[in-house]
Symmetry: C2
Subunit: 152 residues, 2 copies
DNA sequence: GGACATTTGGAGATTTATGTCCATAATAGG
DNA sequence: CCTATTATGGACATAAATCTCCAAATGTCC
């Protein structure tokens, strides 16, 4: 898998919270909506908390909320919180005398990383939600007024 | 790490073989040139063999050769042989009724995968070697006639 | 204060990726 | 045939990612 399972889970959770902004969601609720193992999701949410992407509140009526507006959180923010995209800055072979240049192979690989980073940085959670189409933004089954729109 | 260690190793080995085309390289030679643990490299080379990207020959004078010309092997071929880029074809949540559509999140992720796949598919090993610049194609130290060119 | 709900954090289990080692098979050369 | 060289394949060791579980700590409500 190119993206880690953890990153995938974090994104699902973040989109879920964005979709239900203002209403604190418990770990259980998010777990059910996103189909992520609850115990593990707990860890993922903690990581998002440490990255100041979500806030948490204990006790009745508690749960998790996005720390900022959904259009101020990028996909990259979420991914970076749990599984940072590690660019190739220096020669992976550890050879001396290479300066800041990379050989064509690693230049190519790093270019690929850069393009992903760029794509993720330029997409906010809000954009994922407001994308038009029949498929619901978050990957969950949802019924809207004009018919049953089922998400992927 | 976004790309697996194994994929990185496979690419190094492939570029090494492309750089020394026609001369069978033993596992040991490739291991030294690419700084990959010899024992593990052996497994990686076996995988490349199963994918018909390299041929092997036992005994004295034996070793590994590219099975085709370097311009007929893409970066994607090599990566796919050891760690296939798994596109998102269906809903990761396993929800029914999603058809072949993906929600915006997974569409975005799959688009990123597609762009990488495209970049890798359109780059051959030969291109990595003939890229101009001071840095040697393969990531190894090499001395050429017109001065010491050290790779990354 | 008591009962309940919820996150927190740590310990450990399980699975997968990575890496090591060695006996065996195949090949070349004398 | 014998020896040296090399890949092959399997068993195993280690490390990292993923996942589970539970005893706290913190919060709300009565």
């Amino acid at each position: 898998m190119l993206f880690s399972q953890t990153a995938e889970y974090a994104l699902r959770a973040a989109v879920c919270l964005a979709d239900r902004a203002g209403q604190p969601q418990t770990t259980q609720q998010i777990a059910e909506a996103t189909r992520v193992p609850a115990g593990y999701l707990s860890k993922v949410l903690q990581a998002l908390g440490r990255a100041d992407l979500v806030t948490s509140q204990r006790g009745i009526g508690g749960g998790f909320l996005l720390a900022r507006d959904a259009d101020a959180i990028s996909v990259l923010d979420v991914v970076a919180a749990v599984d940072p995209i590690q660019r190739i800055a220096t020669c992976p072979l550890g050879l001396a005398g290479h300066g800041s240049n990379l050989c064509p192979l690693h230049r190519k690989l790093d270019d690929a990383l850069a393009s992903i980073e760029q794509a993720f940085a330029s997409t906010s959670l809000a954009e994922l939600l407001k994308t038009p189409g029949k498929i619901r933004p978050l990957c969950e089954v949802k019924i809207t007024g004009d018919g049953a729109n089922i998400a992927s």
